[in-house]
């Protein structure tokens, strides 16, 4: 076995452990203002993004990248925010809708949701306070209800510009060869991430059936 491969061996378990859980995304500069001078009072359902499946039986998925070109809407408090609409595929109620806003460097889209019916009428709101962190992502999981056809993902103007700092502890597994013996070496590190809630970022929505209980 070559020396290069031997040197790689110690980090493979950690890479495997973290590789399946964490995906770093490109950095974006936080956009803290909505560029448009005026925004609509209610979102338009057209055009809505379609959800697709990577393969049969896989969850439906749609990823939206919010940028300066996104349409904007004014919320009940008068705050402006950008929005996009996802067309939820037909199916039985009760499916799990997972909405995840990913950190793009230090920038993270600050989301709120509206479920609307086939005519575009508001059925249910999921506020910014219902989103909680999952690592460095903001996420909410809800069950789709009868009649909910469109999902509006909007930036929450009230929280944009606020920041949060997160501490993340990591146990790193490494090692070295001592003669013919591999000696594992483990050590701990800590990292800090500062996130700023913004009108831009990347949000993925998935729609999946309820899994079997453990």
């Amino acid at each position: 076995m070559s020396g290069a491969i031997l040197r790689l061996l110690p980090v493979l378990p950690l890479a495997a452990l973290l590789g399946g859980c964490m995906t770093a995304r490109e950095a974006m500069t936080a956009r803290l203002e909505v560029a448009a001078p005026a925004c609509a009072a209610a979102p338009s359902m057209a055009p809505a993004s379609a959800m697709t499946q990577k393969k049969k039986d896989a969850p439906f998925e749609a990823t939206i990248r919010f940028s300066d070109a996104a349409a904007c809407v004014t919320d009940a408090a008068g705050n402006k925010g950008v929005y996009a609409v996802v067309d939820l595929p037909a199916g039985e109620a009760g499916r799990i809708v997972t909405v995840t806003s990913y950190a793009m460097g230090q920038t993270i889209f600050s989301p709120r949701l509206e479920f609307r019916d086939a005519q575009g009428a508001l059925v249910r709101e999921v506020g910014r306070g219902d989103f909680m962190f999952s690592g460095t992502s903001l996420q909410v999981q809800v069950r789709q209800r009868e009649g909910e056809r469109f999902l509006v993902i909007a930036s929450d103007g009230g929280s944009v510009g606020k920041t949060v700092e997160q501490i993340q502890a990591t146990r790193v597994s490494s090692g070295t060869m001592v003669g013919a013996v591999y000696v594992p070496i483990n050590y701990g590190v800590e990292g800090k991430s500062q996130l700023i809630f913004a009108h831009n970022g990347e949000v993925t929505t998935t729609l999946a059936p309820v899994p079997k209980a453990d």
Partner: protein, 235 residues
Amino acid sequence: MRRVNWAVAALVAVVLSACQTMEQVPYDRASAGNIKTINIVTPKAPDRPAVVLAATVGQSFGLIGALVDAGMQSNRESDFEAAMKTQNFAGNDAFMRHLDGALTSGGYTPAHYSVTREKQGFLKAYPKGADVQGDAHLDIVMYYGYIASGMATPYRPFVSVNAKLVRASDNALLMQKSVFYNPLNGAPENTVTIAPDPAYEFADFDALTADPAKAAKGLDTAIEQVATAMGTLLK
């Protein structure tokens, strides 16, 4: 031996939390039925906080190193348990108190039912009978304590909760979620994570036991935040 098992379980829980595989099922209050009273069955939890040093020198020396580590961890936990007793702090009681508060804030009436839990994980069956209150049973598996990722990093509180809510009338699954406060090695997919409060940081184990009031407050704050997150999940 039981305490060593809990220590091993806690270490496994925090180290593997990044990729744990429990399916995550959100709650929908509107379709759950008329859930007003939630019966919290006795949570599965250790009787004392874990004090985990996630990366040790002993891990480089096989079984002998593991035995040495287990002994040192047990000693740390005994010392920390004594320190918490000086503060009259019990993590299980704190969790129940905060969870009751979170449920009440959410418009539920909390109830409690005492069960003896021998095995790890969720209960296989839930209590029935005239003495059992509640429209749904909330089953909790919790680990908690302090963790340092290595010898050069500080101790901070950690809490790990797996929660399952089942409807009392037909045992239908209403919710199954995990909440991690200060998880080691990243975020479990679709679970809730809470970053540690930087106010509760202890350079080493001696610093942790030197200020038991602050250590207890740090753990209580962590447990409260996890209970609050549970309340949000049950909105």
